[in-house]
């Protein structure tokens, strides 16, 4: 890899483009650099000096990469940073509150919270790698949303106005997660399709993700109920399995939404009914 290729790679490190788009941008940037290099050679510079001058004139790779990322995927990387850091900050504040207000230090909880926050922030730092894995990124952010939904239940124990602060914080955080997933799913669709098709895809994603939120919220509600009345037992897996099943289903649903956006709404609704009924069917069969 020569100097110019390394420079282009540094630019691409700030972008979440999928492989084909990445190759296109890479070719275009290389062509610009090559043209500038040839210009300097014509003006009498050596090949090495011409390369260095072309790179220098091209500009800071971080600024260019971020600029391209924002023009193609506006606010997505910033949203990831905000969500990741917000999860980490909540972890620190809530751990201190649990420890000193309730006298109950929960290091395992802290480990889970910090791991989720770190995973999301690392995804934002390494957007070039994680950004192209749309479904995996969605799963990570949805797990953050579900885990922090569970934190809302824990916040009930915190006395006084602190609980209201934590609830408000968590509501905002979960809304940001849902917003990110909807936008991230939308950006996974082919930008070369018609505006009408992309709008239909957008609607289909919003509706399908609302179905997913309903399934996950119901699963959290029943999990919490089982935890109160039955403690930590295998039965918690019954409601939680609905959420896990939806996350797996969503991988295939993303493909279907791109092909048949409206049909995918009907399929998503069918899965919602299935995921709502099957835990009860399993429990009654047991």
């Amino acid at each position: 890899m020569n100097r110019m290729e390394k420079h282009v790679k540094k630019i691409l490190d700030h972008m979440q483009s999928p492989p084909e788009e990445r190759q296109e941008i890479k070719d275009e940037l290389m062509a610009h650099l090559e043209e500038a290099k040839q210009q300097h050679i014509k003006q009498g510079a050596s090949e090495k000096k011409a390369e260095l001058l072309a790179i220098k004139e091209f500009g800071n790779p971080g600024l260019i990469g971020n600029g391209l990322q924002e023009s193609l995927y506006p606010y997505q990387r910033a949203l990831l940073y905000i969500i990741g850091i917000a999860v980490l900050v909540f972890g620190a504040l809530f751990y201190i509150s649990m420890t000193f207000a309730l006298g109950e230090a929960e290091p395992i909880w802290l480990l889970v919270q910090m791991s989720i926050g770190s995973a999301i922030t690392l995804s934002a730092i390494n957007i070039a790698f994680m950004g192209r894995h749309y479904w995996s990124l969605n799963v990570l952010v949805l797990i953050a949303a579900m885990w922090n939904g569970f934190n809302g239940i824990l916040a009930e124990q915190i006395p006084g106005r602190q609980a209201i602060f934590f609830w408000g914080y968590l509501v905002l955080l979960i809304l940001l997660c849902i917003l990110f997933v909807i936008r991230n799913s939308y950006y996974s669709s082919d930008p070369n399709t018609t505006k009408q098709t992309r709008n239909m895809i957008k609607v289909s994603y919003v509706v399908n993700i609302i179905f997913g939120v309903m399934i996950c919220a119901a699963a959290l509600f029943f999990t919490y109920g089982f935890m109160i009345f039955a403690g930590f037992t295998w039965i918690l897996m019954v409601p939680l399995s609905s959420s896990i099943a939806w996350l797996i289903f969503f991988k295939f649903q993303m493909k279907l939404i791109h092909r048949h956006p409206m049909g995918a709404i009907a399929v998503g609704f069918g899965f919602l009914v299935f995921a709502s009924v099957s835990p009860f069917a399993i429990l009654s069969a047991i």
Partner: protein, 339 residues
């Protein structure tokens, strides 16, 4: 800065911050057990003294104090992982029944004990194989009425077992023979009291609804006493009646029921009185808190009540109050617990 360095730097900061948080957490005090008064004071039969449990870090021991308050006297040394609760005076006030409670691996145990004020010592009246919730002396002092479970059932959350199947028993103090008086087998039977005459016992239980039962000690017949049909509980359709107490004359019953609700929906309980026919229901207290465990003074008019200022909170915060029968006068009984 290279991407690799950014990743290493970020992870180092998170690990350092998490370690710092964990280390800081080790300085926090662990959750403390319950503190303060318990809500089941006993009043001596001359109305001059009260006996009550007081909690320190989750364990209760018994104290006595003048009925109008003042410095309390510790009756029993505190024991690790044991609580002494539910005191009840003998008719001549020379003895005090109480329940010793403890838990072993999620299973609660209790033992009926009696403290002798003259000898200043306690003795067990039953072995540890019986789970006894509460006990009182008969008015003649010759026997003891007790509420005892017939076994244990698993906790609904799978965390250990709880006593179940409570009934009322009568134990002869001379022979220690015990006779079962009821056949309720109820998990919620409690608040045993009797009149001076001693021919009836009053208690409460939950059997689909909260009920006050009056047991005729002689013929074992049970009568349910509920407020007259016109009575409207603050709880809505059915009253949530608890801690009934028989007046010395046996004609009046004081009980606790929902009177109001807070804005957040939490019920506020007050003490009411009614006749043994369920008539003439009168609301005695008006604290807008959780008022329960009424005990009649010997005059049959004034009441000793327990007011929980932290009902539905993590731990109760009880106060004792003396309230006149018409509810117009009330005075807090402030007891000072010695260091």
């Amino acid at each position: 800065m290279s991407l690799k360095m950014k990743n290493i730097l970020f992870l180092s900061i998170v690990v350092a911050a998490s370690t710092l948080l964990y280390w800081t957490g080790t300085f926090a005090e662990g959750p403390k057990g319950r503190e303060g008064l318990d809500g089941s004071p006993a009043l001596s039969n001359d109305g001059e003294e009260i006996a009550f449990p007081h909690y320190e870090d989750g364990e209760a021991t018994l104290y006595t104090a003048a009925a109008d308050g003042g410095e309390a006297e510790q009756l029993l040394e505190r024991e690790t992982r044991q609580s002494f609760v539910r005191p009840a005076y003998s008719p001549d006030n020379s003895k005090l029944l109480y329940i010793k409670e403890w838990r072993v691996e999620g299973k609660p145990y209790s033992q009926l004990m009696m403290y002798d004020f003259d000898k200043q010592q306690s003795q067990p009246l039953k072995d540890q194989d019986h789970y006894i919730r509460e006990a009182i002396f008969s008015p003649d002092g010759k026997s003891i009425y007790l509420v005892k479970a017939d076994g244990y059932v698993d906790q609904p959350d799978g965390d250990g077992v709880i006593p179940d199947g409570y009934d009322v028993y009568q134990m002869n103090r001379s022979t220690y023979e015990t006779e079962q008086l009821t056949n309720e087998g109820n998990y919620n039977l409690s608040s045993l009291s009797t009149s001076k005459k001693g021919d009836h016992l009053v208690y409460s239980l939950y059997n689909g609804e909260d009920l006050i039962q009056q047991l005729n000690v002689n013929n074992k017949k049970i009568k349910t006493i509920m407020p007259e049909p016109g009575y409207e509980s603050g709880a809505g359709e059915a009253p949530i009646i608890n801690s009934p107490s028989n007046a010395p004359d046996g004609e009046t019953i004081a009980f606790s029921d929902v009177a109001h609700s807070r804005d957040n929906g939490t019920f506020q309980y007050e003490v009411f009185t009614m006749t043994t026919e369920g008539e003439d229901v009168v609301q005695v207290t008006n604290f807008h808190e959780h008022v329960s465990e009424p005990v009649f003074y010997p005059d049959g008019n004034d009441l000793l009540v327990s007011v929980d200022r932290n009902f539905a909170g993590r731990d109760p915060d009880y106060e004792y109050w003396k309230v006149s029968g018409d509810g117009k006068e009330r005075k807090e009984i402030i007891v000072e617990i010695p260091e």
